[in-house]
Subunit: 280 residues, 3 copies
Amino acid sequence: MNEHRSVIALLTDFGIEDTYVGVMKSVIAARCSASIIDLSHAVLPQNVQHAAYFLSTAYRYLPDGAVTVSVVDPGVGTPRRAIAVRWPRGYFVGPDNGWLTHVLRDDGHAGDRTGEVDLPYGWEAVELQQAKFWLSPVSSTFHGRDIFAPVAAALVNGTPLVELGARRLTLVVIETLHATSENGTVHGHVVHVDHFGNLITDISADHLSDRFTVTVGGGTIEGPAESYQSSEPVIALIGSSGRLEIAAPNASAARLIAVGVGEPVTVVTRRTLETGPATG
Amino acid sequence: MNEHRSVIALLTDFGIEDTYVGVMKSVIAARCSASIIDLSHAVLPQNVQHAAYFLSTAYRYLPDGAVTVSVVDPGVGTPRRAIAVRWPRGYFVGPDNGWLTHVLRDDGHAGDRTGEVDLPYGWEAVELQQAKFWLSPVSSTFHGRDIFAPVAAALVNGTPLVELGARRLTLVVIETLHATSENGTVHGHVVHVDHFGNLITDISADHLSDRFTVTVGGGTIEGPAESYQSSEPVIALIGSSGRLEIAAPNASAARLIAVGVGEPVTVVTRRTLETGPATG
Amino acid sequence: MNEHRSVIALLTDFGIEDTYVGVMKSVIAARCSASIIDLSHAVLPQNVQHAAYFLSTAYRYLPDGAVTVSVVDPGVGTPRRAIAVRWPRGYFVGPDNGWLTHVLRDDGHAGDRTGEVDLPYGWEAVELQQAKFWLSPVSSTFHGRDIFAPVAAALVNGTPLVELGARRLTLVVIETLHATSENGTVHGHVVHVDHFGNLITDISADHLSDRFTVTVGGGTIEGPAESYQSSEPVIALIGSSGRLEIAAPNASAARLIAVGVGEPVTVVTRRTLETGPATG
């Protein structure tokens, strides 16, 4: 697979009712030739943790060389840093506010640290400072249009990262919900409720034994199920991003259990009552 | 018009809040160069009938050679078949669960049969079995990402259908709401409520006389209206997919009449009281 | 920047649940090779003023040569005119019902006039009449699919404007909400509530002094704020389209103030109590 900086992926909290996303795409189309992929525009408003979660479900699938732009930017118009990052598989553009947290953690680099974390090997970052790549004037409320979209276009057009601003050696990593283990019990949380009402947790498959019992919202579920098809009203299974997920066959688990993001979820290994002598 | 396998059309029940659709597009963009058309991602969850309806409104307009991928897949992770189909105007990829029902019926081929129906002349189908075209590992909950998107990309890249799996001679056709005629009365149903609140029925224009009376939700409507502009609060007209549609000028018929999908709709030919001698 | 008629921008009230937008894109893809930008499909149903507002936020950012298609068309199927327009920066295609009002007003051309307004210098317009560029048959309810999409494709393919129909020398301009000034008080309105709950007004920055007091929904706000970050619950600032905007930091102003489109907003210059001698 060749690197081709001709895909721009967008991740925002703009929604799609307004023209905000369309205007960003217009700015991009006026400046370069790129295919645009909407990762999601339904990040919860101003919720950088949610943006980081969404990116964690998607970044492994992006084409090499893709320029991913995230605009979940509660600090727009304040002195928060705007950055562009080159990592081994492409580029990231947006505010330096923590949306890259899971990408930095997934390879074990960031560990549990938060705050300013050193760049991993093979990464480069700059603080965006060169206004000649931006729209003019720059508004104080829509840097997605005025800075990030034109910078993404500049990268697609082959602009070297270092021409965009001053080198940075750290990136911001934020605290996110994450599961912990204690005395054989995994303590996690619901981190996302999807379109189907599936409750997606921060408990990864590595934390789970072959058979386990999940407690959430006052009830228990025996897991794992193999698929969404089941005669049980509520099931627990390993979802498509490798995390424990609570689902309801042909229904919404979120509605049945009436819980949302942040809800605690605990998992214990299920002991099997052996009713006869084990064989083999 | 040349065949060009460079358009991929997507039809899912994924919604657009999550990254599911964006991840499928990422997988596609990493593997081929194609324009992507979102037919709809608002198929009612797990509702294959609704997917079949949406496809019926769109398939005639697809560019020749388009690869249409449908992922409305309540059986994902169970042994339900996954298929790729070549038909005279392009390709279909998805679960073999009935979403092609209207395409197979519209040319009269499938008749009223349901279940396994022989392929029409000029069609070919395979059961997807060649894992080398898929992502690895394959999850049990997201074949849209792991199987259908990469298979669609393989077709865009020119892979012959037969390399994707084993030949099938039948496709699944499902029961769908459809109008019947009896003693001059057409008995149909609301099959879709659109964004405007228009009630779209399964009664095609062929079933209708020049002037008719529609009964729905306890009220009657004289039809047809010529356009959405009318002084009547509720009108009946032939909609853009050639079906009887109940609408409210500048308002939502679904809200005014308070009915939804499945609601019975009957139509009788309207007798005109001739007040003078007919001429000509 | 070269003119390249290879971008088609869409602005409709179709929503994205149905296949209407996907079908328009299918018709376009079958007939030409163009990148498509969705400006918005959430124009309030049949609300041409809202379409005109959305276009006002976006048109300056479109690539040169773009073909912008608007289908907010309450008069579809009636004898309302369908038009294609060449203006110095591209093309517009849609019903002649006033969605171009702000574009025609922004350069001062249309003034406060409504009704039929002469074309500005450098503009050309035709009434769409040449059915050979359309789909056949033409439905009475979906000209977006049957007329506007194929006409946009024809323009992308280089068809001269004059081949599409008969020249027109005027375009329809409609009444829209707009701010007025009287005795130092600016009287405006909320013209849009965005995804974040920001209240966007028809009061442009030119109308505002350095410091001002806004009255809306029974409360007052001292402005302007510099960004969305503030310890105040509700703020007033110049938004990204150069208009006065009322926002709530990390919350929805529309929910806090409980007002919607059409709500009156007044602004007066704020007198500063000088508590000491001015310096410099």
